[in-house]
């Protein structure tokens, strides 16, 4: 038991070390890499992905998966754009609201109808995309620039981008919930062994339901930020976000089998994959090489591959020793 935990710890620190190494590399190699402007834009842009990955992290820790997050974000962005004339609060409420509803539907399908999470959320992914396109009439929905809604994506508060602050608050809450509440411990227990968790009297279904609802709500929130940042609700955005989020969670050391995971290292995973892209841009800026943007997915894939093999090695090593 302790040894497996050790393996988890090692992969947790692995991602932080890799992140620091990447930042150090960028700092040494490029001028302005740690400049305020660059830091702020990285944080601003990646906060959407961070929110989606946080929800995904909780779902994966219960041993499930949520494929619907990308299209739910798109749906959330459309809903937020429509309610943006009534101010930022209305926009937030609409986006988070629709996301939560989809999360609730996922939860019902998975815990009541006992449909595998992969299939249930695949279906809601299609349905959310269809609903977003229907609502938006197949085009992007412009947001209101007068109501202050766009501040949610473009504004600053005490010098920090507002979306990054929102993401930071979400991560702190997520961290507290996971480590200091019964529900949070329950998430890990259910993911570790649902059977045992039930025998211990934990409300496994309710815990799983909460994870999917949270994931839906966070995806909706990411959609709100998307709409505010780019000035439009975008029904066709969000394609592939779910897999990017899964990749971030896995890179962060959370096991897809559930039961092991950490909120902090998921954030590190998101930043790592996000900063890789920035490094690529800077490298191109130097002019030595010219890697097209297409390389970023190849590099991300290679990164994921390295992490996956490393993780498999660690887990195999642990289990063979015990």
């Amino acid at each position: 038991m302790r040894k497996i935990d050790f393996g988890g710890l090692l992969s947790t620190y692995g991602v932080v070390i890799a992140l620091l190494a990447l930042i150090a590399f960028g700092w040494l190699r490029y001028e302005n890499f740690l400049g305020m402007f660059n830091i702020m834009s990285v944080l601003r842009y990646n906060s959407m992905f961070a929110l989606v990955a946080l929800g995904m992290c909780f779902v994966i820790m219960t041993g499930g998966i949520d494929l619907s997050v990308g299209t739910v974000a798109a749906l959330g962005s459309v809903a937020a754009a429509y309610s943006s004339p009534y101010g930022p609060i209305a926009g937030l409420a609409a986006g988070v609201g629709v996301g939560t509803v989809v999360g609730l539907i996922n939860a019902v399908m998975i815990t009541r109808m006992h449909i595998m999470p992969f299939i249930a959320t695949l279906a809601s992914m299609l349905a959310a995309s269809g609903t977003a396109l229907l609502l938006a009439n197949n085009r992007s929905v412009p947001v209101s620039y007068q109501s202050g809604f766009t501040d949610l994506g473009q504004g600053n508060f005490v010098g920090l981008p507002i979306p990054a602050i929102i993401a930071a608050i979400a991560y702190i809450l997520g961290w507290v919930v996971l480590n200091y509440t019964a529900t949070g411990r329950g998430v890990l227990a259910v993911g570790g062994s649902e059977e045992s968790a039930k025998l211990m009297g934990l409300p496994a279904d309710r815990i799983k339901a909460l994870a999917y609802i949270a994931s839906g709500g966070l995806a909706g929130l990411a959609g709100v930020i998307l709409a505010a940042q780019f000035g439009a609700g975008q029904p066709i955005e969000g394609v592939g976000w779910e897999l990017f989020a899964i990749a971030s969670v896995v890179v962060g050391g959370t096991l897809l089998t559930g039961g092991v995971g950490s909120v902090g290292s998921t954030l590190a995973g998101v930043l790592l994959l996000g900063i890789l892209f920035t490094v690529l841009n800077f490298e191109n800026g130097l002019g030595w090489i010219s890697l097209s943007a297409y390389w970023q997915s190849v590099i991300r894939g290679a990164f994921l591959l390295a992490v996956v093999i490393l993780q498999a090695r660690l887990v195999a090593g642990e289990t063979s020793r015990t």
Binding site: I65, M109, M113, H114, I115, M116, F118, I119, A120, L122, A123, S124, M125, L126, A127, S129, G130, T131, A132, L133, L134, N138, V239, L243, F244, I246, A247, V250, L256, T257, S292, Y294, W295, Q296, S297, V298, I299, R300, G301, A302, L304, L305, V308, I309, A312, R313, V315, A316
Partner: protein, 335 residues
């Protein structure tokens, strides 16, 4: 149809007792298909024409070809998310070969042959790579194939520099437009793939091994099945199928766009497999079911579009069908 008469294995119930859920789970897809056909014959104008048949068959071909490979993978209890990206890779390679961008080939017949064989084999190699990750490192299939889902399309974009490749090569495009005996060539290709897989799954040791592994991997290992090798094989086959489907897509389009070829195909294929009655947890797989599943989804979409319902709404209906089909199977299994 002798559906009512055939119900030899009641699940722990009294023999002869009619079990609605069991019945629906077994024949739901067929019933849905028949109902859809009846509805269309009654309400959709010009439905009973050869053209309608051809439109639907050609649209469903690529999904079926990919879904056949996916059925074998899912039969072992795995999943393959990389199929869409592998389609993009083979779709990107083929035009580069027959347009002599890599090495000049004068003989067009030879060029086209190579342009068909090599991309399919390359996709198969990538599939083998998936299998290697899964069998050798025991990486979960969803994560292992996620690697190529992300990187694969990138590879296709990098080798084409993201450019659209437009071409007009009738010899190659025969697989998209050819009509031997009046049947579209791609439909023939699909039929061959389906028959081969059906035969392999039903009549060969390999097919039995696939289902055994999906049913209980540990027991299969103990029974002496070469689990690793079978897994390598199913992912390689899935890659080959994806490669072939990629070629069909670009042949129809007369163009290859690495950003678009096969986009979202993994989900369509998985949906077809699930609706067709293959258990997603493995151990039970049906190729004919997958074919029917793909046809059902396609026909639903066609029905909605032909009757003026927007494509976006069709997505929602598709979602409901997937959930309904899987839920029915679930009811059957719980008993």
């Amino acid at each position: 149809m002798k559906e009512l008469a055939v119900n030899p294995v009641p699940k722990g119930e009294i023999r002869g007792h009619f079990d609605l859920f069991d019945f629906l789970a077994r024949y739901g897809t067929v019933i849905a298909l028949v109902l859809l056909l009846c509805f269309n014959l009654a309400f959709t104008r010009n439905f009973a024409t050869l053209q309608t048949l051809n439109v639907n068959l050609t649209q469903v071909c690529t999904i079926v070809i990919v879904a056949v490979g996916m059925t074998l993978v899912i039969g072992t209890g795995g999943i393959d998310l990389s199929v869409g990206s592998l389609m993009a890779i083979s779709g990107a390679l083929a035009p580069m070969i027959f347009m002599s961008k890599i090495v000049p080939i004068d003989n067009i017949a030879l060029a086209v042959t190579i342009a068909i064989v090599v991309p399919v084999l390359v996709a198969g190699m990538f599939g083998l790579f998936n299998g290697w990750l899964i069998a050798r490192f025991r990486v979960q299939p969803i994560v292992a194939t996620l690697v190529l889902f992300i990187a694969g399309r990138g590879i296709a974009q990098v080798i084409t520099n993201g450019n659209l490749q437009v071409f007009k090569v009738p010899e190659f495009q025969w697989i998209g437009f050819g009509r031997p005996f009046g049947i579209p060539a791609q439909v023939l290709i699909m039929a061959v793939v389906v028959l081969l897989a059906w035969w392999a799954l039903r009549r060969t040791v390999f097919g039995r091994d696939v289902l055994a592994i999906g049913g209980n991997e540990k027991a299969s290992t103990l029974a002496g099945i070469a689990v690793g090798r079978v897994k390598l094989a199913v992912y390689a086959i899935s890659g080959l199928c994806a490669g072939l489907a990629g070629l069909v897509v670009i042949a129809i389009n007369s163009a290859s766009d690495a950003n678009l070829v096969g986009l979202g195909m993994e989900l369509d294929a998985i949906a077809a497999v699930a609706v067709g009655g293959t258990l997603l947890s493995g151990g039970k797989a049906t190729i004919i079911g997958t074919l029917l599943g793909a046809l059902t989804i396609q026909l639903v979409r066609y029905t909605l579009l032909a009757n003026g319902v927007p494509d976006a709404a069709a997505l929602v209906v598709k979602a409901a069908i997937i959930v309904g089909a899987v839920w029915l199977q679930q009811q059957n299994r719980v008993r």
